[in-house]
Symmetry: D2
Subunit: 363 residues, 4 copies
């Protein structure tokens, strides 16, 4: 359903950008997992507004509270409800939204679909909705770490606008990603990216770019044939994030320029196990993980909300112009890195539980 | 679940490439829809092997039979079971598969995941599995046409290997797509593509490329905020097709090189209705259709099965080489066009029913 | 999933009896429904502890707060999060529960299933969990009333222990049900029931009984053939309530003593429409509503928690005795009436939306 | 959805009583399970018409064919499609059904819901639909037996019309159940039941009764708190069977006449494990199995189809009479025993896989 994700490790997010707050209910979390707010807050802090001078200055602490499902420091196996209040909503900045549809935003489609919309903010299309996902993913990551101690989920900004970076997916570390505000592990490129974002913001404009992700220490056998292929569920997960326009796995779009002989990943025996000598498959074959690192990429468009004036129409059907007020990210990617990680963790934990369920007979 | 797709118009596909046959059960189809095998067969014929000299020569008639859910020419509202027997399976061509994992195919991952696999063919990872989807989509298309008479779903090959085409998405027609074996409406490019496919096949190699799709006559309001965004469900649908490596909607990856001001689609009033003057959004904003044509693109890798010898390992863990026998497509794209159409129709009909359900109060 | 109910009008409840509070997220609610806390509070008040001298004296106001999904008095079509804090939890009354399993309660099974449990209260097995259902049902009732203005959902206590009542399901009214603390519309029986409950409580014991329900003004055509028959979904809904042991629809268990000729409901034309002359079917035939009033009955066991000493075992495997402290209902039925209504409304609204979705082609 | 059952071990049934046949697709079955048609046929034979002189004389072999999902004698983990053709349909016996609604049958509700119906038989409301469930349950039983070697699912006729039986649920055996045509293990009562059924058939009438069921060797911990309680899912499963009117678990309706002290099941240590000294809970506490035998009962109404003339109306709204032709069971219970077993197995295997998935962390 619209606000549910997952089959076994299942989350329901709720909340608008301008209302009492946002939250998530996690159903199906394994019992006996040590869990407290301290496990969740770090990822929320990495996601929150105001964390650096290249993101929106909206001042939200995004402090989470676990309302259920945890008892004396461990999960009960019952639903975990996590709540994050909104504290710095400024609905007055949105007064024009009542009558003007913001171009390439969801105002017009929400109004058309529902016949009503919360015009005092972005409603459910706001990036604030992702708080619930990020909070849930912190729990998912803890489960994954217990199931697969070697697992490591990493995402980073690989391009902002036309500024490319040089990053080796095989060796990139969380520390290098977190070493700068734009979350690009290539320090030289990061500097240029930050400058670009500041410049574009000063022009009342915005930029997009690419986020790359990898998962190392992947177990073999996650993902289902046919509809719930691992890459299909990852694609859905990523395209469900605000501002995304594209997804590719392994060789992706560029791989279509190769022949089969060039593209196929030959097998070899390495350290006593079956491995591929290349990884154009991106760690997935036939929809199922093969134990090689997952590799995928997500395209984010430039932020729709800009302060430059744009042509639009009003709810009463008149042509007009609009220059957004309010506080917005000139570039969503630095914060979206955490969202990409989050959706990856949610997909993986769900598939891990599904595989565990079905693979129940002795081998 | 693995072999189920859709929430309300829900399909379950079954069958392996080398078994009694393949099929689909459709649950939730509206009652009173005129339906017979004649409605389904044309799309199966467009999908089937042996239809031209650039696809696999496997000789399957792919004749469908409706086993339930239809009475005196109309649907009953109860499950529609559609069956297509396999008639030209040649398991003997697969004897090496018992012991050798085909590179970049699903042999190794199926074996690892399940501890068993049908090595007498591709099992569920075979493109034969898509028969059920294509059959179901023929029903979906009939429902869509009754709900939205202007709707038109079109997909076509836009690039094979490095051979680009020139196609105007706004004016492309089904007739032009079907006018040649490669299903590229640019006749000049099509000729080159066909030549390339024949050449690459003669070398025992394979190629991939891109399929573009558009949906015209789209209703406003399909798609859900958050997880079941229309583009997210389309991304999942496309990445669930065999051999896909990427998906982009609207401006896609290229759009990330624009600024917000360049990228946003301004609104205007046209013919008395709200429209955008450009369509970089690809017909979806905030996850919900805005009435502009849907525009998206899918990347297909070169066919994994090639007859050139490749390095691989055996089920007993020894390094070896393998040169595939059997009959295979040197390029999956001409037939995949029908699969892209099919998955599009299945996503849209499901979202149409979902929107109809929720939008039940008077406006 | 465990804490989700419904296909289209879908609820997720969360919360334990002794934690921060309880709540529900409703996904799929139609947009533009007028809604405020005032619509929800009355049913919560009818459900809450401390409302009369025959229920638990636990003092909870059960004041609800809508955290999302409503804007300026109408629903947005996005998730509605409703929160009710716990204010009078007294975990100290449960200290023995840490080591002693209460007979016929869920302590042992939760401990066995999860390897952990919240022993400071009933956890998810507490009747407090039903707050979320009741809150969601108030929303469901409003939707149903707009879709089917004649609809009327009524439930009442028809027997406490061995005290039978005389109630005519065809004419019973909400006013007569609400006219006394036990919610039995037969005033004479009600008096005896109240006396029995007080007496049994004074003995440190408990009683159960029967709740009957009817739905008048039913639309024809709700319910699905096969698994999601209306009575099957009602049966599940009722057996998901705490302390329930049985369900019957229409003639129920007694109907098995009739022959087919005696049992069948003949058709007639009444007021120009097809009706049955009797209603042993209970308003459902072949799983689908036939427009006659729904009629069903639910059996509730005597409350498991009693203050008389009982034999039990400890978590360390020793035999022991236990006399419950804490505040408990000597009889759950007066408050369960509201829960039966609630689950009925949730089943009906979901089936109404499902039918609306599938029945989309012109008749 | 309407024709889907289960979360992880998921079945989709299809087919009408008068069409090409009926079938089922099982998704989520564990791989490596030895399986062939010989495992499935015995249960189909126990369910099929014509097996004795007290059931319908319709002559169906009900021979099943596995079309997918099994390779060289073991399951692949992919969907298992099972098909059973209809061979003895006689649509001519149903000609009056085109215009006359059979009382207490599904003709009127299907016509109203769908605006169309297959009047050449019972459509999806026919007991033939249960073939798919019984076939799937044979697979489920094999999985359960491997997971819980001690498990034993037994159902039997405990009452026909007003003829009671004396059966000890703790010691009843499959052999004693199968020792007579009515499937009542009390030989004396069985004789009277058979005589009653023959007599009532000779009168053109029908009878109903009760089926009791038990599951021994139950694992502890199956079932979920709140909505998917084990008894709630069993209640739904049973009420989804044709002709059912009621369900009770453990002490059921009779238990409501006891006080809490009389009703509660005290704990003791027996053979080193926690057990209850009585089993009024029916093996389930708080929705979760406690390791004691499951005990429940299902009420089946007298068969709706009788050959005595009854008052009804026609599709054109005129009052009329109808005397059914065609071949029908004068009493569904002897065959329904197999259906009750089947649904029990399907509920248990699904919950077993769910529990296995969630309970993934070390204890």
């Amino acid at each position: 359903m619209a606000s549910n994700f997952g089959t076994l490790f299942r989350i329901s997010t709720w909340g608008e950008s301008h209302g009492g707050g946002v939250g998530v209910v996690i159903d199906g979390c394994p019992p006996r997992l040590p869990l407290s707010e301290e496990d969740i807050q770090p990822d929320l802090d990495r996601r929150r507004p105001g964390q650096s001078d290249i993101v929106t200055p909206r001042k939200e602490e995004d402090t989470c509270k676990i309302l259920s499902g945890v008892f004396r420091g461990v999960t009960l196996g019952t639903p975990i409800s996590i709540f994050v209040p909104n504290t710095d909503a400024r609905p007055e900045a949105y007064s024009e939204m009542q009558t003007h549809f913001r171009p390439s935003h969801a105002d017009f489609t929400y109004q058309s679909k529902y016949g009503v919309r919360n015009w005092e903010g972005g409603g459910r299309s706001s990036a604030r909705e992702t708080i619930g996902r990020v909070a849930a993913s912190a729990v998912a990551k803890k489960v994954l770490k217990l199931l697969f101690p070697e697992i490591e989920i990493l995402a980073w900004v690989s391009r902002i606008h036309d500024i490319e970076s040089q990053v080796d997916a095989a060796s990139v570390t969380m520390a290098s990603i977190e070493s700068n505000a734009v979350r690009c592990p290539d320090a030289h490129a990061a500097e240029a990216m930050i400058a670009r974002i500041k410049q574009i913001r000063s022009e009342g404009n915005s930029v997009g770019g690419l986020i790359d992700a990898t998962v190392r220490g992947m177990p073999v056998g996650l993902g289902e044939p046919v509809f719930d292929r691992l890459e299909a569920d990852l694609a859905k997960a990523m395209l469900s994030l605000p501002a995304t326009k594209g997804f590719e796995v392994g060789s992706g779009f560029a791989g279509t320029l190769l022949t089969g002989l060039e593209h196929n990943d030959p097998y070899e025996i390495r350290d006593g196990a079956v491995h591929t000598t290349s990884n154009r498959s991106g760690g997935v074959q036939g929809g199922i993980s093969n134990g090689e690192p997952l590799l995928f990429r997500v395209a984010f468009k430039p932020t729709a909300t800009i302060s430059k004036p744009q042509s639009t129409v009003t709810t009463s059907g008149e042509e007009s112009t609009l220059a957004a007020r309010g506080r917005h990210d000139p570039c969503v990617l630095p914060r979206a890195v955490v969202m990409v990680e989050a959706m990856t963790a949610l997909v993986l934990v769900d598939h891990a539980l599904r595989q565990r369920a079905q693979d129940c007979l002795p081998r």
